[in-house]
């Protein structure tokens, strides 16, 4: 997992608070608004969600009567 999504840095219109969802494409910066992810693709995120869910399910199965 060496591909990374860069964190939002710098400011848009001089307002640091509004930079968490900045996305740059073809030199144009816009706000993603949601659907942010630490993974490089939706596929990777889906697999990680599946792994996490299976781990939780295993834990519940083993440790809950």
């Amino acid at each position: 997992m060496s591909e990374k999504k860069p964190m939002a840095n710098g400011s848009s219109n001089g307002d640091e608070t509004q930079t968490i969802d900045i996305h740059e494409e073809d030199g144009f910066r816009y706000h993603r608004g949601s659907a942010l992810s630490i993974f490089s693709s939706d596929r990777t995120e889906d697999f990680m969600a599946l792994v996490l869910a299976l781990l939780i399910a295993l834990g519940v199965y083993l440790f809950v009567d």
């Binding site: 964190m7 509004q18 968490i20 144009f28 992810s37 596929r43 869910a53 519940v60």
Partner: protein
């Protein structure tokens, strides 16, 4: 680039969680908990306080005093701070703020029938958590040390959706699945078609219309991002679409529960409406939990609709790809299978896998209904009282005439004061749904059904995990919604999006009120 910030915040947050766990565990906060009527969260405050406290302190010490070099460990390790930040905001709201809002609201007295102001406005921990996230990001801003972790929110939501698969029975999935395919099929295809038509009438570029139709028709921002390459959407067009979707999605997330409460909608009706009418997947979950914060029946219905919508995504992307190629000269042919393969949402397979595992009976006795299994070895206190039996006896002849197939099960219930078998339980549920007995009698049928249905401990634990994952995901979602993103909406895309969004919300409400009933 090094992502981990040398900042004491995580250490401090860990200390706060640990302090909460200790204070609650020793009874020091009993007075406050009693005043807030938050006793049901006491267990959670203790175990979550200790676990998140230890994680926060250990990782906080590492963040502050450890050596950090560029790499995977640094990148993924840096997310702990943001994750704990989200949990702190979400849990303080769940354990203290939301209960306090309820106390204040109840002091004002009922405002609509028997409902209090906070119930009508849906001011529960879900809505307040999302609001808190939005306020934080648009005032002081999410701190830099937390930003990477805030991006974990969607992972939390997806994990929660996958785990939801453990709670459905085959009967529920079949009935909800059939309903959702019909409703979603109509409204998704209809919305996409309407945007394409309006876009053409208003002279929007094909790329703008294409990406807007995916966002408005399917599942919001994710669909926008998925469809943008096939319609060659420009970044400014994606920005317009995201702005429009967020404006409507966030607005609907707060408005739908208020309308649902005013219309006294049932869980199935509201879940179906939220799943059909709200644009963005995450906002669907937010609205469902806002409507029923202390249970997940509404969320279960809404998520089936959400999943059905997401399953339509490859079909819509394919449609748009073919539509775009037809309209724009000089574009390459579309590889149908490649599009479907690339766009198919894998996490839905995870949901199906969890459902399949649950159906084998490893988490609860098989043949459960809504996560509850049948067991009629119940104490005397759970049996129907003699006066309650008399009510059912008085209406027995009515049932025998109108619905003779239910009479034997009702007879056995009257004789034994409890439901005698799983088959009888299904018949009693059917009799209740048929609504041929009086309201009082139907309440007794429901009481008899509840007495013999028990939630397996494992299923209870899954419900708890799902609730916490969604609380985490939705509060984090709020922190991603910037006013700057919403202000991107404007011009013709906003007009087209507004028309389609309104038509979808209103029409789906009418259809659901007319044709969807609480019999699933």
């Amino acid at each position: 680039m090094v992502y981990t910030h040398k900042h004491p915040a995580l250490l401090i947050m860990g200390g706060i969680f640990l302090l909460i766990g200790i204070l609650v565990g020793t009874g020091a906060l009993d007075g406050l908990i009693a005043y807030l009527h938050a006793g049901k969260y006491k267990g959670e405050m203790i175990w979550l306080g200790y676990i998140l406290g230890v994680i926060g302190i250990v990782f906080g010490a590492w963040h502050l005093w450890g050596r950090h070099e560029e790499g995977d460990l640094d990148y993924y390790g840096s997310t702990v701070a943001g994750a704990i930040f989200i949990m702190l905001v979400a849990m303080i709201i769940r354990w203290f703020v939301a209960p306090y809002v309820a106390v204040l609201s109840k002091a004002l007295g009922p405002v609509m029938g028997a409902k209090y102001l906070h119930q009508v406005l849906g001011l529960n921990y879900v809505v307040l958590g999302i609001l808190a996230g939005i306020i934080i990001t648009n005032t002081i801003g999410v701190p830099m040390w937390a930003r990477n972790g805030v991006r974990l929110s969607r992972l939390g939501l997806k994990t929660g959706v996958i785990l939801l698969g453990t709670l459905y029975s085959l009967a529920e999935l079949q009935q909800l699945g059939k309903l959702s395919v019909v409703l979603i099929g109509f409204f998704v295809l209809g919305s996409v078609g309407l945007v394409l038509l309006l876009g053409r009438l208003r002279g929007l570029p094909n790329s703008m219309t294409g990406v807007l139709s995916a966002g408005m028709g399917v599942c919001g921002v994710s669909a926008t991002v998925a469809a943008s390459p096939v319609v060659k959407a420009k970044p400014v067009e994606i920005a317009y679409t995201i702005g429009t979707i967020l404006l409507w999605g966030v607005g609907c997330m707060f408005l739908f529960p208020i309308i649902g409460n005013m219309l006294d909608m049932g869980y199935v009706q509201f879940g179906a409406w939220a799943g059909t009418g709200i644009l963005n997947s995450a906002q669907v979950a937010g609205a469902a939990l806002a409507y029923q914060p202390d249970g997940i029946e509404t969320l279960k219905v809404a998520e089936i609709f959400n999943i059905t919508r997401v399953l339509f995504l490859p079909i819509i992307v394919l449609w748009l790809a073919l539509w775009f190629v037809k309209r724009e000269e000089g574009n390459e042919r579309v590889n149908v299978f490649q599009v479907i393969f690339q766009k198919f949402p894998i996490f839905v397979l995870g949901f199906i896998l969890m459902f399949a595992l649950s159906s084998t009976g490893i988490f609860a006795p098989p043949q459960h209904y809504k996560g509850k299994y049948f067991d009629n070895n119940i104490p005397e206190s759970k049996l129907l009282k003699p006066e309650e039996v008399a009510v059912l006896k008085a209406e027995f002849d009515k049932v025998k005439q109108a619905k003779p197939e239910y009479a034997p099960a009702l007879q056995r219930l009257i004789e034994n004061r409890k439901i005698m078998s799983r088959e009888d339980d299904a018949l009693i549920r059917g009799l209740n749904n048929a609504k041929i007995m009086s309201k009082k009698a139907n309440k007794l049928l429901k009481k008899a059904h509840k007495a013999v249905r028990h939630t397996a401990k494992k299923i209870k634990k899954f419900r708890q995990w799902i609730t916490l994952l969604f609380a985490f995901g939705l509060t984090g979602l709020g922190m991603q919604i910037t006013m700057a993103a919403i202000r991107q909406a404007g011009g013709q895309p906003l007009v087209v999006g507004g028309i389609v969004g309104t038509v979808k919300a209103v029409l789906s409400l009418i259809v659901i009120l007319l044709f969807v009933h609480e019999t699933i």
